[in-house]
Assembly symmetry: C3
Homo-oligomer: 347 residues x 3
């Protein structure tokens, strides 16, 4: 662990770390990716833009106050779960899911505590997974998101709208035909839904934000969204859920994570990633059913579950070359290092 503490330039570099944090939602440790993504969110809603920024600021600052490892903070790793928790708390308590509603003072205090808690949970899950060399992914967001979303409904002083967004495929009409917009809107929405943005143009702009840092990651995100929509359609999933990108947002994240980021790009690892995308697509529907009795959204739990299982399994399969989280940069870089140096060796 890096023992260097925060020197004088911390305040100057803080905005950069926050932007990296927003990029890290889609595995891009690059402030320009973060900037493009923020702009894409602003295009959809200034409320979500402000909340996304607030969440990343609070969770990054919490880590600094608690004197967390500087290398982790400056890579934005404490920011992305805070951003997502802020977005989810607003999204699921707003009358209008698409634009979000400005939170009340009580709700704001609540969001700030939730974002701070993601930094604690990120450190906790990181400690649990450290022996296995697997990253926490968005698990801190999923855990804190679920717990705080539940509790919000219990308190009279937090006004919460109904959960107006369907959270399970059951809530869509089964008989609608697949049309052209099912596809081009569905692919974009799948990327947008990662940030709770129900806007397909925002989704494609986020892909551009990813491509700023890694073309392979951008391509994998699209491949994930397309394959998920295809599989859902082949098995008769409802048109509305496909068009809203619901089958695809977990699948797109699985595709980025397994497609070169935590496993060196190769034919076997590419096929392994596609297998993961198909399984993620099905299991999104599955976890939605699990959560129905308590009326909770899936968030990115399917991505976390499938990617964890497939990365934990990887060292046992000699056709795959895992990249330890601390060394994972971009698919392009990971591959170069392996081709150059001696092969990374799984434990």
């Amino acid at each position: 662990m890096d023992t260097k503490r925060f020197p004088d330039d911390s305040l100057l570099r803080f905005p950069e770390w926050v932007l990296r944090g927003i990029g890290q939602v889609v595995f891009q440790n690059n402030p320009f990716s973060g900037l493009v993504i923020l702009a894409a969110i602003l295009f959809n809603s200034w409320i979500y833009f402000a909340i996304c920024l607030l969440g990343a600021i609070v969770s990054t600052a919490t880590a600094m106050v608690l004197r967390a490892d500087r290398a982790l903070v400056s890579s934005g790793l404490f920011g992305f779960n805070g951003a997502l928790v802020g977005l989810s708390l607003v999204a699921f308590t707003s009358e209008n899911f698409r634009t979000g509603a400005a939170p009340s003072p009580f709700m704001l205090a609540y969001i700030i505590f939730a974002a701070a808690m993601t930094s604690v949970v990120f450190s906790a899950i990181g400690a649990l997974l450290q022996p296995y060399r697997v990253a926490a992914l968005t698990a801190p967001f999923v855990l804190v998101g679920w717990l705080f979303l539940f509790a919000v409904l219990r308190f009279a002083n937090i006004e919460s709208g109904p959960l107006t967004k369907p959270v399970s495929p059951d809530e869509y009409v089964q008989t609608t035909q697949y049309l052209l917009p099912t596809w081009y809107m569905g692919f974009g929405n799948a990327i947008g839904q990662i940030f709770f943005q129900d806007n397909w143009i925002t989704g494609y702009a986020i892909v551009v934000g990813i491509a700023v840092n890694s073309r392979i990651s951008a391509a994998m995100a699209l491949i994930g969204a397309v394959l998920a929509a295809g599989v859902a359609a082949l098995f008769g999933g409802p048109e509305g859920a496909i068009r809203d990108g619901l089958f695809g947002y977990n699948a797109a994240l699985t595709a980025i994570a397994l497609g070169g980021f935590f496993l060196v790009v190769s034919w076997p690892s590419f096929l392994y990633a596609l297998f993961g995308v198909v399984v993620t697509t099905w299991l999104w529907a599955s976890i939605a059913v699990f959560l129905e009795p308590i009326a909770m959204p899936v968030l990115t739990s399917t991505f976390v579950l499938v990617t964890w299982l497939m990365l934990l399994a990887a060292p046992g399969f000699r056709s795959l070359i895992p990249v330890p989280p601390a060394e994972a940069t971009t698919p392009e870089d990971n591959r170069k290092r392996v081709l150059r140096g001696p092969a990374l060796q799984a434990a």
Copy 2:
């Protein structure tokens, strides 16, 4: 980890590995056990016979394609969860639970992916548990089974029958009297239910398959089934559930696992196993209630939970001698090695 890769004889030995996989459902690394068990299933239904074989073939082949450790593959350890997942997906989507229905092409593709996924999950859970020297047991089957069973209900193109089999003791009439068939059918059905076979003769034939490899394991399976039925009756469990073997199939597996396989046979370990059987019997009912809101079957989750807890605890108790998973062969063999050599020492 064994680094030998699959040499030329892999294709020749593949059928043997698949048969060992079927034997491993009940902890028997012996192709003849697998053969007897397959014959017992065929006696009940050719559909289950074919699906059991298909599941074991797919999951074993997946492990080979991904270049998993040969020692694990050739012991059948990648096969048994695949076999069980195939059986469960057919059992719980068929109009007639007892004989099963031939799956549609969509369902078949789905089963193949599920069986392949068990190999990934087996490797993942194995990695998680490796520091604790505890085996994955049937956890990959339970996890993949639940997730894929849920999702199946979401897709229009997979025809799924109603869950026609009661999955919880609540669904049985409480007032029926215990009669002779309650017992002799109940004991056999408990063993049969391990493989989703609602046929008490098949159950006893499976005991014979176990005895081919280990008489102690066969005896423990019966002791588990008998004690479970007795405890359930003593506490007033419904007659139908006892006769169908529902209280007993998890208990029988707990009895085999703790009765000499992962703990060296001795008086303390025998009493520890009996304690585990009683707890498993009660907790089967408990987990059924947990799962009722989402209408899911217990599968072998109770066995996995209780056996994991009791094996994780074992190194802390000096009256027990644990056998590491990699060294566990048969109760007879485990005991001989300990009596011969220096005592195995718990950490």
Copy 3:
């Protein structure tokens, strides 16, 4: 691990170990704390008094029979989960929650098995958490409590009353005004509810029992209860739930655990503990909602979850000094050792 076995004085010292076990519910390894707490429970109900003693005796004796580590047994660490499981099984199956009902012979056998099982689960969870240097807390009680509470409803021969105690804030009227008794009764009840005692005088007496061993722990317990009630009121929680101490019993335990016991007392760790108390208060409501579909009580699960996360995270934050479970004695002592010797170093 200590390899000394139980010498001749075991029987003589057994009552002391049982009393320490009762003190350990609130982290006090002191037989006099246990004695005061037992007296406080007896003041409320002789049935709970007897069951609390029985649970601690059974689980401690189980650990001795299985030849567990003597140092753990003689610190009362095998006793506290057994005591809590006994209390919970009586509390939630009695017509009158406040006084409890004497259990039937079937129920008694069931409680004895449950208490014995907590010793197995304590050892199992201890093994799982050992690499992370985090204690099992009351997780064995929560897990065994849930599983055995569920199962109890399935068996005709165990008479179980209705769950007469509200287990979720939804069940209280939202419109009642906060009055003086809301506060002084609410704070006491929060401490009492740790032991399922719906009696605020008993609660304050338990605080005295804690103070016998550590004034800091006693103060933290009260701070936890007060802060929880304040936060719940600020966010509009129902008056009845606050007065019954339901928001506070998990928060009080979190406050003791983080307030000097597992983290050396300092300003940062004190603020960290207060943050944990606020989060615990909210999440108690959250977990109550999670459990509503299956009608289960929260028990101390919120305390376990939040405290585990915050302790797992602590070594990653250089502003906190964790105390390994094996070295944690009292907040006063932990702090003295650090000030005297070289600073404890987080991994």
